[in-house]
Every structure is written in structure tokens, then in C-alpha cells.
Amino acid sequence: MTRFLKILEYALSSLARRKFKNFSIIAIYSFTIASLASILLLTHSLKEIAVNVLADGPDIVVQRLTGGRHDMIPASNAQAIEKLIGVGRVTPRIWGYYYDGLYQTNYTILGVHEKLPPLEMVKGRMVARDGECTVGQGVATTQNAEIGNELLLINSKGIGHTCEITGMFKAQSNLWTNDLILFSQDDLQRFFATPDGLATDIIVEVYNPKEIPVVAQKIKQLFPDTRPVTLNEILHTYQSVFNWRSGMMLTIFASSLIAFSILAWDKATGISGEEKQEIGILKAIGWDTSDILALKFSEGSVISVTSFLLGISLAYIHVFLLGAPLLVPVLKGWSVLFPRLQLVPYVDMYQIFTLGFLTIIPYMASTVLPSWKSAITDPESIMRGG
């Protein structure tokens, strides 16, 4: 134990003697880890949020395609779908996107319906009648609006439509409600000028989750012009989108990893004359090759573990405390509403372990190997002033 402690003590003193070099390595190393970990933490968190949001979502969304494009669907289709075995409640929905040219943002406008997932309110209440609306926190922030204020939107006929804000959804951790404006069903029908008997899509509840693909297939057979999208398909799409986005970011940040690898390689191949001499001295005065390796291993461990923990901590702060300001525009999505996103800290330990494995091990190897090469040579050179 004394041996280990004294070697560790000497390793720390040795690192302190080369302050500038070692701080530079720690800074670059931590930045690389922080960049990569930020992407991984954010992507994982977004995927988890998507999964949680969609967990309350409809089992099947039935859309109608005309000439390959999304079209309004007859609400009466709902009655036929409801008669299928295993199907629970079937609800036609009206919703759409709204571009606010003044603030250059997109909102999602949805009509209140029975199958609305549970929405957490920050304050106020849900829409109860025509002329009212409930908005996401992102919308309220963009519009600088409070409960009781009137929200003015331009409807599909180009006429102004006002509604009184009755409540505000919690934007924290919820991408879905952030840009959401909720109208009464009738208000929304008028706003979009949707003809009677038509809906944007139909949502279907299936009693047994295992039967969802079968029910989807039956709906497709019943209405060949529709596209039933299952919850699993939506989940996969979200995951693919986030994976694709994070993949893009990781590719970009791979350059910093390469730069770090070059630095590590440079360190590996470029053990300085001073360090070589020190190894020679230590060997000459009775240090074994294993003692030198323990010393260099300790030095490498201190640098790599410190940098790794620092990098992970920085990434955690960046993503979960600051809302990932550097990555959100790329990873979060198409919406241009960017409130201060308070992500819930979902951490995939497997990813963290992999990142640690892929950065700590190569660094340790690049530190220990050249020292080992130097340590296995006879200390005789030190007698000759070498």
C-alpha cells in the first residue's frame, strides 16, 4: 500500500511539474469528451422524452392519402373502424400547423378531443368553450402573452381570429406541448375552414397492443386510400430521426476526436528526452520496469479519468442544466420555437461506459506504451549522462 501511495504521490508531483502540458491535454481531452457526451446525452434524453410522450399517444393514426399527399379524411370512416374486433374508441381529429410570420415561428394547432393525452398545466385551465385557447409555454413566451390575454391568429380565410388564453402547458421536458395551441373542436374547424364531415386524421385505440399491426392491416383493407400509422412506427421514426441527427453531429465531432487522437499519438511517439532521462534515473536507483509502468499508469489514469469526469460533468451541465444551447437547434427538430429546454436527465450508462472505454483506454495505452519501451532498456545509458 505504501508503495502504491508513494508512486501515486510521485505521479501527481510529476504531473504538477509539467503543468502547462498536462493542463492543455486535460482541456482538449475534456472538450472532446464534453462534445461527444453532449450529443449522446441529448439524443438519448430526446428519445426518452419522445417515447414517454408517445406512450400516451394513439395506438393507430389513420391518415388519408390522395395522389400521394396527405388529405382530409371523412370522419364517418371512424364508425366503420370502430366496428372492427379489438378496436376501442375511434376519434376523428382536426389539427394543423400555423406559421406566424410576425415572429417567424411554427405552432401546432389542435382541437380538444376525448383522446387527448394528459397534459400538465403550469397555470390556468384547459379550453372549455369556443373563443378560448390553451397554449404551450413556448408560444406564450414568443407572444409575450399571459393568461387572460387575447391571442390573435390569422385563419385560413385571411381573417384575424382571437381567443382568450385560459391556461398554459408545461414546456419543461415536453417537446410536444411547447409549440401547441389548443382550440375547441368547433373553433378549429372554423379556423381551418374544414368542411363538415372531414377530419385531419382519425386516431384509433386498440385493446390489445399485440393486435395493433393486425388492426392497422384491416383498416388498410377496409379503406385502401388510407395509411394507418402505428405507435411503434412513430416511435421508430422518432428514434431514427434523432439517431440520424446525432449521427450527423457525431460525424462532425469525430473531427475533434481525430484531433485528440493525433495529440495522443504525438504524446505516445514523442516521449521527451527529459522524461526518458527521468525513467533512466529511476531505473538506475532501483525502480523496476513494473514500478515505472505503475507510475506512468497512474499519471495516465489521473489525466484521463479527470478529463473524462470533467467532460461528462460539462456535458451534463450543458445538456441538463443549460438546456443544450449549442446543440438544440440541430438536434431538437424543425420547430423554430426554442424556449429554454429543461431536459429530464436520462443517462444511458452503457453509452457513457462505451465513451469512456473508447477514450480512456487508447489514451492510457498511448501513455504507457512508450514509457514501457523506454523502461525495458538497460539503465546503463544514465551512467553515460544519457
Binding site: T2, R3, I285, G286, W287, D378, I382, M383, G385
Partner: protein, 230 residues
Amino acid sequence: MPLIIKTQEINKYYNRYKADEVRALEDVTLTISQGEALVLNGASGSGKTTLLSLIGCMARPTSGSIFIQDKEVSRLPERFLTNIRRQTFGFIFQQLNLIRDISALENILLPLYPSGTSIKEMNWRAKEILTRLNILKKAHMKVSALSGGEQQRVAIARALINQPQIIIADEPTAHLDSFLAAELLQILTELNREGKTVVIATHDPFVSRHKLIDRVIRMRDGQIIGGLEP
């Protein structure tokens, strides 16, 4: 007195079988008794430092045998040589080879770090040696801040911290003025009186003629050319 070091027809080649092959030692046979103070004398390139390295278990001979306290060491694996080096020898190098940016005390204790010696024992030994060499007050100063003579004492203290039986010194007076050289030899004389064997490689006549020295071995071109008999 019993033999402490014995070499039998040792040869040492560098860059063997290459165009620049050098035969640094040629059939060197030598015995050194316990408690003896001996000088290896010769010009540069005569093989003194090579012989000192082989005796001090820092390198292995190309052929021939070396015995330290009747134990053949010339074919031992590296870790055994390290153990012998750590337990038996104290080295004083020509260039001192101190680590300049750490304190004198740390330099002195370095040989003990891997040995597992308790911290209490380390401190006790260090204090004793520092006091003896009159550098206790400088213990916590960086080596780079010490004078040449003080650095020399730190190097001697480091050589003694393991309580070695044999002290090996390579050109120890090469960078010292006559006063410091005399002081160094006085310290070595005291250590020799305590029973430590002292082997010095030098071409400094001041060392060779010092009262400490029992025998002078003369070397030329890797061979011993005189002084074999005590």
C-alpha cells in the same frame, strides 16, 4: 576479507554484428573484497564506465560471469537485477542525475518509493542522512535552487538511503572544485570506514592518490593493464 564482487573473463560488445560494433570490455577478470576502496583508472573510452555498469547490475555482459556476494548475476532477469541494484548498490553519477524540479528530500527518498518501506522509516532514514551530510535545512528546497556542493550531497544522500553495501561512483569529482572534491572523498572515506565497499571510476589523480583508496586498477582499450593485486 571475503570477496564481494568477482568478474570472470567478461566481455561487453555494443552494436554486436553491426558495422559499428564496439568491444568495450575484453576478458576482464577482477575481484574486489568487502570493505575495499578501489579506483578504476584510465582515459576516456578505456572501459571504466562500462565495467562499473556491469558490476552495478545496470547492464549484462555479452559473455563471462559476474558474482556479487558469491551469487552469479550476469544471467539474471531484469527484475532480479533491479532488486540487487536496490538492495546492494548506491550510485553516484558523474552528472548527478537528480530530478531538478522536486525537493532534495523527494530526490533522496525516490529509491525507497517502490520498496514498500514505511513512511516513518523513510523519514527517519532521510533525517539521519540529511543531518550527517549537513543539508537538513535544505531538505525541502528544490534541487535547482541548491549550490553545486549541496546538489552533490543530495546525490550522495540518495545513494545511501537504501543502506547499500557497495557504493559505485562514476567520475564523482569531474564537475567539482578541489574543495568540494576533498569534501566528497572525506564522506566516502567515512563510509568506507563503516565497512562499505567503494568502487570509483575516475581519471582524476587526486582521487587515485587519496588515502581512502586501497587499490588502483588501470584500464586501457577495455582491458585491465595493471593493479590487479591488492
